[in-house]
């Protein structure tokens, strides 16, 4: 489907439903789509499962969404930080559920979702508490003398990502380490919404430098 270039962030996040799984890009604040999250707060969707590397920093972006009580569950690798006071308070009060996932598994589970992989065997977390899920130990298998844990994909209903530049087709390029989870999340959600610093005409991005091709991107908004 043709990528929509939205005029406003409100238009970009329209239709996100209660109970959705929302993939939110960023590593800390680098690459975090703060304006899209602000628009999602106004839009009002609640009972969300959020998949993101961290569980909010300071009071902006994901932390603001958490503070509004819109998030039922966080799937992340590193919730506890010096500035994660919003999540810390909610978690200690039992108001948000946490699924802790090693960072590489978080990325690879979304990569698998985007690539149509049903599950994969992975050496990370073997012999640790994170080789168990809510239903008990995860399946393991020995392959060529090494033990692996079976991990399943993480599919998003929606991905909110921050990129640097889009063309009007929806091809994206990123900037420095703000790229982080963006390209992976862009493959793993049914509806992918990108905020960018600028939208340029088709042909203005060198095809050799496109990081996220337009096929993955549904809506773009410049902020």
């Amino acid at each position: 489907m043709i990528t929509a270039i939205c005029e406003t962030t409100a238009e970009a996040v329209a239709g996100i439903e209660d109970g959705s799984t929302v993939l939110i890009g960023g590593f800390g604040m680098a690459g975090m789509p703060v304006e899209l999250i602000d628009a999602l707060i106004v839009q009002g969707a609640t009972d969300l499962t959020v998949v993101s590397n961290n569980a909010g920093n300071g009071d902006a972006g994901l932390a603001a969404l958490l503070a509004m009580g819109r998030v039922r569950k966080v799937i992340c690798s590193f919730p506890r930080q010096s500035d994660s006071w919003v999540f810390d308070r909610l978690y200690r009060a039992g108001e948000v559920e946490l699924e802790l996932v090693p960072q590489g598994n978080l990325a690879e589970r979304m990569r698998a979702a985007g690539a149509g992989i049903g599950a994969f065997f992975c050496p990370t977390a073997v012999g640790t508490p994170l080789a168990a899920g809510p239903d008990g130990p995860k399946e393991t298998r020995e392959i060529d003398g090494r033990t692996y844990v079976l991990e399943y994909p993480i599919h998003g209903d929606v991905a909110l990502i921050g990129a640097h530049r889009a063309d009007r087709m929806g091809n994206l390029v990123y900037r420095k380490t703000a790229r982080n989870f963006g390209p992976v999340m862009a493959t793993a959600a049914a509806t992918v919404i990108a905020q960018v610093h600028e939208v340029v005409e088709v042909g203005e991005i060198d095809p050799e430098t496109v990081v996220t091709p337009s096929i993955y991107v549904d809506r773009v908004v410049a902020v």
Binding site: Q81, R92, P102, A107, T177
Partner: protein, 213 residues
């Protein structure tokens, strides 16, 4: 004399082969970068998607799109490359990194690592990339104090904290000694401020002296 943290970082840097691809964990391991020889060709990897990461950004020159694993602003060196998270962790898990340097709560005589969670009921667990690094890098170096604040050893027969990885640690740098961990057990490479016998006396782990001792 026991080693300072700077001296420990210097020792680690000395043991990293020229041209290695290296990931330095958050905290004390970050200091190793200060002691890498400029001409060594060591390339630093940061989990959030960059090779050839440079030193911390100077005040006033921070670029918040260019940060390290600790989310502090850094710089890029000539030859730097950016990539997304799945690629970054494929570099770890695929065995492409030569060395990672991590902090630890405990290391066992069999090379098990515990560094992500104290297991305390009120602690909020956070693992980040530690488990991926522990099982992925070709060599896993640990930097830690040899004794906890209560005086108990952190090099132990078996870890009591939740594990990060099993049998993954190759070498441990502490203020009192450097240890190699391998199939033949724990070998003491060097001691600082303690004799080999004093060290053996204070640890519950069976030690072997280095061949040159």
């Amino acid at each position: 004399m026991t080693l300072t943290k700077q001296e420990m970082a210097q020792l680690v840097a000395r043991d990293i082969a020229p041209g290695s691809f290296v990931n330095l964990g958050i905290g004390q391991p970050t200091m190793v970068a200060d002691f890498l020889e400029p001409g060594s060709g060591v390339v630093l990897h940061t989990e959030n998607g960059m090779l050839n990461m440079g030193p911390a950004a100077r005040e006033g020159e921070e670029d918040w799109d260019l940060t390290n694993a600790g989310k502090e602003p850094v710089t890029e060196l000539p030859g730097a490359a950016y990539f997304h998270h799945a690629d970054s962790f494929a570099m770890m898990r695929g065995g492409h990194l030569d060395v990672c340097v991590l902090g630890a709560f405990q290391v066992s005589a069999g090379g098990d690592l515990a560094n992500w969670h104290t297991g305390a009921p009120d602690a909020i667990p956070a693992v980040g990339g530690a488990m991926d690094l522990a099982i992925g890098a070709k060599s896993v170096f640990v930097m830690m104090s040899l004794f906890a604040k209560d005086g108990s050893p952190k090099l132990v027969p078996a870890c009591t904290y939740p594990l990060t990885g099993v049998g993954c640690v190759d070498r441990v740098y502490t203020e009192h000694a450097v240890f190699d961990i391998g199939p033949s057990g724990v070998t003491v490479r060097e001691t600082f401020g303690l004799s080999y016998d004093e060290l053996a006396d204070r640890l519950d782990v069976e030690l072997r002296p280095h061949a040159s001792h």
